[in-house]
């Protein structure tokens, strides 16, 4: 029998054909390859969070191979001399071993911690982007809600993570967490003893935190991230207004090869930055903190940055304890800790969850929105966001007010009072300033569209008056008056370079590598003409 010759070059095509015979994947696959993604730098922020999460999974898996979440007491005999002979929990000892006695263990630990900080930072900045550009509006409310949940899950995951090594800082954090749980009315003491398996700290909590940190929360995070991405694919990306862009299309590049290559490259860059941080910048040096002892704490005890705003709210809370008799002879206590650490996070969860619906109701908007809005075009929302941000920043700064007081030689009590006052005064102020700034920016856009770009050339009129020459953006009529240009919801060129008055930079380091392009005449510069909105708006549409 004649042996058929193996056709190596035709093998991939043949294999693909065999797969398609069985699964009929060619059209869904092609639809995925052809999916169009719009391009803008602000769309990369969420990607940073996604890539940090992947790094977290990779480094975290490595850490589980050595870490032992046991609260059994052991005596340290490792190579780190300052702690030798000191009793500590097995969890702390294994975290020390990871840092000193596992080859590459320290960089993995530090990368894990840096990636967690970056994950939360990227989530917050991504959330701000989505909020200020109105990307959360119908039909994307569900994805916004998932995003808010992802923030809080990341928060819990991060807290559980830095509580695990059982060093002085993590134990202090856990003790505060137990006090927060204790402050809940009626059920507080039961919740605390149930979760800790007895009185603080007990023997259960590390094991429970561990399984939550490595299995439960990551599994929910993974599921929600998958849903987040799935909804993104289903609903397609939002885009900025611009030439050819409308509410009914997506303008950009196809997923393959362009978008995928950029995204893949960006992943490697994020991964690289985390590796550099993990190698070069010390984070959470647990060996300097020592094991957790209930009687020991040092000054400047700070949680990770994403927990700091709640630490700040706790510090600023005035000592208002409610004590009341429910029936004669029995008094009950509502500790002040309850308000900044249970009620405030509750409000901070519920408000953003419902914000898309509240806004739609206020603006009486029922349509689907796929075009983003510049923050200046919706002053109410932008000002509300600035207000929330001011509130958050005051809390964040107050979370480190002892360090600021120390470094800048300010009275600690003055810092606390400044925070208390600032928390009430700055948000409304931020609202007002932002609102005015938005209106001003809108007005300037309209002015440039109507009169043109300032050239910086001053002309003296025959009557002695000075005027600045403006370069109109639209063609002029026979009297020299430019035609009216509608505002298109996108950047209006405001500098002469932007309309091609200057020759573009010539590429090449030592010598030019290409012929410089000819400058376009300003009057021929492209201006996006799509008339979508008119006049200054308050964001209603």
């Amino acid at each position: 029998m004649k042996q058929s010759k193996l056709d190596l070059a035709g093998l991939p095509a043949k294999a693909a054909g065999e797969i398609d015979d069985r699964l009929q994947v060619s059209s869904p696959l092609r639809r995925l390859l052809n999916k169009v993604f719009p391009d803008h730098w602000s769309f990369l922020l969420g990607e940073i969070a996604l890539y940090s999460f992947i790094v977290l999974l990779l480094t975290g898996t490595f850490l589980t191979l050595w870490f032992d979440p046991s609260s059994n007491e052991v005596t340290y005999h490792g190579p780190y001399t300052p702690l030798q002979g000191i009793p500590m929990s097995r969890a702390y000892e294994s975290a020390l071993q990871l840092s000193f006695e596992v080859r590459g263990g320290l960089i993995m630990r530090q990368m894990h911690h840096w990636a967690a900080l970056l994950f939360m930072a990227a989530i917050v900045v991504h959330m701000l982007r989505v909020f200020f550009t109105g990307a959360f509006r119908k039909p994307r409310e569900l994805n916004w809600i998932i995003g808010v949940l992802l923030f809080w899950l990341g928060f819990v995951e991060g807290f559980a993570g830095y509580s695990l090594p059982d060093d002085a800082l993590s134990g202090t954090g856990l003790r505060i967490a137990s006090a927060i749980m204790l402050s809940i009315p009626v059920i507080g003491s039961w919740v605390t003893t149930s979760l800790f398996g007895g009185e603080f700290p007990g023997h259960e909590i590390l094991g429970r935190l561990y399984i939550a940190h490595v299995l439960l929360v990551p599994a929910i995070l993974l599921g929600l991230i998958a849903a987040h991405m799935g909804l993104l694919v289903k609903q397609k990306h939002t885009q900025w207004p611009g030439p050819g862009r409308s509410n009914d299309n997506v303008v950009g590049i196809r997923m393959f090869p362009g978008f995928a290559a950029k995204a893949g490259g960006f992943f490697m860059i994020v991964f690289g930055v985390i590796a550099l941080l993990g190698g070069l910048f010390q984070i959470n040096p647990i060996w300097l903190f020592g094991p957790y002892e209930a009687a020991v704490v040092s000054a400047a005890s700070q949680p990770d940055w994403y927990v700091m705003f709640l630490d700040g709210s706790t510090r600023l809370m005035p000592p208002w304890e409610a004590r009341f008799p429910l029936w004669p002879g029995h008094h009950y206590t509502l500790p002040p800790l309850f308000w900044p650490t249970v009620v405030l996070p509750g409000v901070l969860t519920m408000l953003p969850l419902f914000y898309p619906f509240i806004e739609a109701r206020k603006f009486k908007s029922k349509a689907s929105h796929h075009l983003l809005q510049r923050p200046r075009d919706v002053p109410t929302r932008t000002a509300l966001g600035a207000m929330a941000l001011a509130f958050y920043i005051v809390l964040l700064i107050s979370g480190g007010n002892d360090v600021i007081a120390d470094k800048f030689d300010i009275s600690l009590n003055a810092m606390t009072w400044a925070g208390r006052v600032g928390l009430l005064v700055l948000p409304p102020l931020a609202y007002w300033i932002t609102y005015r700034a938005c209106l001003g920016l809108q007005q300037h856009d309209r002015e440039v569209l109507a009169h043109g770009v300032e050239t910086g050339i001053i002309k003296r009129l025959p009557n002695g008056a000075f005027v600045e020459v403006h370069q109109p953006l639209a063609p002029v009529d026979e009297h020299g008056h430019p035609a009216a240009l509608p505002y298109a919801g996108w950047v209006v060129p405001k500098k002469m370079n932007r309309v091609g008055a200057l020759v573009p930079t010539i590429k090449g380091f030592f010598f030019p590598i290409e012929e410089p392009a000819k400058p376009a005449y300003p009057s021929e510069a492209p201006v996006s003409p799509a008339p979508t909105r008119e006049g200054i708006t308050s964001g209603k549409q």
Partner: protein, 355 residues
């Protein structure tokens, strides 16, 4: 998405280029490629070569640094030893090689995508108008599903389902809640200072040694633990105490202030001479309030900056704490400090049942 012009397009037409097929595929997916131009219309220009060389260099550096990482990982002295040595650079070297290797790979790919892949503008139609017909059909199917079960006209089954499902739902929750639930009992009201078998508990240092009055000089203070097995460990996280030897004048101020506090006057007073002991666990969130300022006799909790005026019976004078630090009644037996009794109020952060 497919339109009626599918039939006009012959995929097997030999005169079509591959890009014609790409465009047709995209069209069928609702994507129109409106602009597609190579970055370098004339192949092989100096500018193009320059980009190619840059990418190649970055990929070469990726490999070199990646190899450097592996070499350093294996051969660089890594074992921790105190003092300066090459091993101190182990972590930075790993970070530099791995980080730069990954970053160069990332920059190479991004440069490739931005400088060499064709410039493209594609437009994809959104189809997010719900089909009301489809919705009506699905709705009918779902309602029919309910009808088929006949749950509406079979009230007995409806009731039986409820009676059957609810206990099973509880059974699912029971192990989790039942397994974890634990009564606080008296744990929040008692500490290890409670006299055991009629024996008062001694004040001990972290190493278990007893404390005599002459061990703490005037103006000084010491952290002490209950003299029970494991008294200084986290087993008794509610028991650490700060023993303070006040100067004569300060002690007198405190004694004057204590006259109004009935609970401290029991059993002949809770101070012993100029010595006084307060729970170290902050009444706000449970951190150890351990920063003692001798000049003002204030105790500061470093977690949330609550400040307690020791000479005013540890009254909270600033910050979020609302209650005084509980005082441990002191006395001296056989020359060493002992606690007369447990704290007379619960220590630590507030909770609902606290009277």
């Amino acid at each position: 998405m497919s339109t009626n012009s599918d039939v006009d397009f012959d995929v097997n037409d030999r005169s079509l280029t591959r890009f014609d097929l790409v465009k047709e595929g995209a069209r069928r997916d609702g994507v129109e490629i409106v602009h597609y131009a190579p970055r370098f219309p004339v192949p092989g220009t100096r500018a193009e070569k320059r980009v190619e060389r840059a990418i190649a260099l970055m990929l070469f550096l990726t490999g070199l640094l990646g190899l450097g990482f592996v070499v350093a990982y294996i051969w660089w002295p890594w074992k921790y030893t105190p003092g300066n040595g090459l091993q101190r650079l182990y972590n930075p070297v790993l970070g530099l090689t791995l980080g730069l290797s990954l970053a160069f790979l990332g920059f190479a790919i991004v440069t490739w995508a931005k400088k060499l892949l064709p410039e493209e503008v594609s437009i994809q139609e959104r189809h997010d108008q719900p089909s009301l017909d489809e919705r009506a059909l699905t709705g009918a199917t779902m309602l029919n599903m309910v009808d088929e079960t006949g749950i509406k006209r079979r009230p007995l089954l409806k009731g039986a389902l409820l009676v059957g499902a609810a206990p099973l739902g509880l059974a699912a929750a029971a192990p989790l809640i039942g397994g974890m639930i634990k009564s606080p009992k008296h744990s929040l009201f008692e500490t290890a200072w409670k006299p055991a078998n009629g024996q008062r508990i001694k004040l001990t240092r972290e190493d278990g040694s007893q404390i005599r009055p002459e061990d703490v000089s005037a103006g000084g203070q010491a952290t002490v633990f209950p003299g029970v097995p494991g008294g200084a460990t986290n087993e008794h996280a509610d028991s650490p105490v700060l023993l303070i030897h006040l100067r004569e004048q300060d002690a007198q101020t405190l004694r004057d202030n204590l006259k109004n506090v009935a609970v401290n006057a029991e059993d002949g007073g809770a101070m012993w001479g100029n010595y006084v002991a307060y729970s170290k666990i902050c009444t706000h969130a449970g951190c150890p309030a351990s920063l003692y300022e001798q000049q003002t006799n204030r105790l500061l909790c470093p977690c949330h900056q609550s400040q307690f005026q020791i000479t005013d019976n540890a009254r909270p004078v600033f910050g979020p704490a609302t209650r005084r630090l509980p005082m441990l009644p002191l006395t001296v037996e056989d020359g060493v400090f002992v606690a007369k009794s447990d704290f007379r109020v619960p220590i630590g952060p507030g909770f609902w049942e606290r009277p």
